[in-house]
C-alpha cells in the first residue's frame, strides 16, 4: 500500500506499472486521475491552491484505503494527493487499485475517490482572473459517498 501527500507531480503510468510489477496474481488494475480544469461554475480558473491539515491528512487517507481493503479483496492500492499551488492541466490525485478481477478494482477505486471527496481534509481555492474563491462542497459528493453505505 502506498499513500502519499506531496507537492510534486506524479507519473500515472509508473504508478500503474508499480501496482502489478512482479505480481502474477494481479489480473486487474483500475486507476483514476483527477485534474485541474480551466473552468468551474462558469468562470475561468487560472490557479488552484490545495490546503490540507497535515497532521490528519495521511491518517484520514489510510483509514479510507483500509476500509476499501476490508470491503473488497484487493492486492494493492496506491493513493497520491497533491497539495500547494496547481494550474489547469495539472494532476491533483491518483488512485490505483490492483485485484484479481476487474469488478473489485473498479468498485474500490470509485469508493476511495467518493470517500476522499467527503472525508479527507483538503480544501481548494480557485484563482480566477482578478479574484480568488474557496470551492464550495457539492451535495452530489455527499450523495456519491452515501450510496456505498447501502
Amino acid at each position: 500500500m502506498k499513500i502519499q501527500v506531496q507537492e510534486s507531480d506524479f507519473d500515472p503510468g509508473a504508478e500503474i506499472a508499480a501496482l502489478h510489477a512482479g505480481q502474477p496474481k494481479v489480473g486487474a488494475v483500475a486507476s483514476f486521475v483527477g485534474l485541474v480544469r480551466d473552468l468551474n461554475d462558469g468562470e475561468s480558473v487560472t490557479s488552484l491552491t490545495l490546503e490540507h491539515y497535515p497532521a490528519m491528512t495521511e491518517k484520514s487517507l489510510r483509514e479510507i484505503v483500509d476500509q476499501a481493503m476490508g470491503r473488497w479483496s484487493l492486492l494493492d492500492v496506491s493513493l497520491i494527493h497533491r497539495v500547494g499551488e496547481l494550474k489547469p492541466l495539472d494532476r491533483i490525485v491518483f488512485v490505483g487499485v490492483a485485484s484479481m478481477h476487474r469488478g473489485e478494482a473498479f468498485a474500490a477505486c470509485e469508493f476511495i475517490m467518493d470517500y476522499l471527496k467527503t472525508l479527507a481534509p483538503f480544501w481548494k481555492k480557485e484563482g480566477t482572473p482578478g479574484s480568488e474563491r474557496w470551492v464550495e462542497a457539492h451535495a452530489s459528493d455527499e450523495t456519491a459517498a452515501e450510496r456505498w453505505k447501502k
Binding site: 490546503e51 491533483i92 476522499l116 479527507a120 481534509p121 480544501w123 474557496w134 462542497a137
Partner: protein, 85 residues
C-alpha cells in the same frame, strides 16, 4: 484544561487566526463547549459556528461532532466541508 484549536481554509481567513490555545473550565468537556465559547465572541464567530452553518470539526485528527469528548492537551480543528480530490 487547555486545548489547541486550529482553523483551516475559508474559516481560517474569516476568523483571521490559524491556531490558538483555549482555556476551558473543568477537566473534560464535550466539543460543544469549545464551540459555545468561540460563538460568544460574536460577529463572524457566532455566524460561522451557528448550528446550521455547516462547519466541520475534528478532535485529535479524527472527524468529530459536538458530543465528542475533549480534555487537556487535545487538538480541535474547525473547518469548512472538505473539497479535495
Amino acid at each position: 484544561m487547555k486545548i489547541k484549536v486550529l482553523y483551516f481554509a475559508r474559516l481560517r481567513e474569516v476568523f483571521g487566526v490559524e491556531s490558538e490555545e483555549l482555556e476551558l473550565p473543568g477537566e473534560r468537556a464535550y466539543a460543544a463547549a469549545v464551540i459555545d465559547m468561540l460563538r460568544k465572541r460574536g460577529g463572524a464567530w457566532s455566524e460561522e459556528l451557528a448550528l446550521d452553518a455547516g462547519y466541520r470539526m475534528a478532535v485529535n485528527q479524527t472527524l468529530a461532532g459536538l458530543v465528542t469528548p475533549v480534555q487537556d492537551g487535545y487538538e480541535v480543528a474547525i473547518f469548512p466541508p472538505v473539497t479535495g480530490g
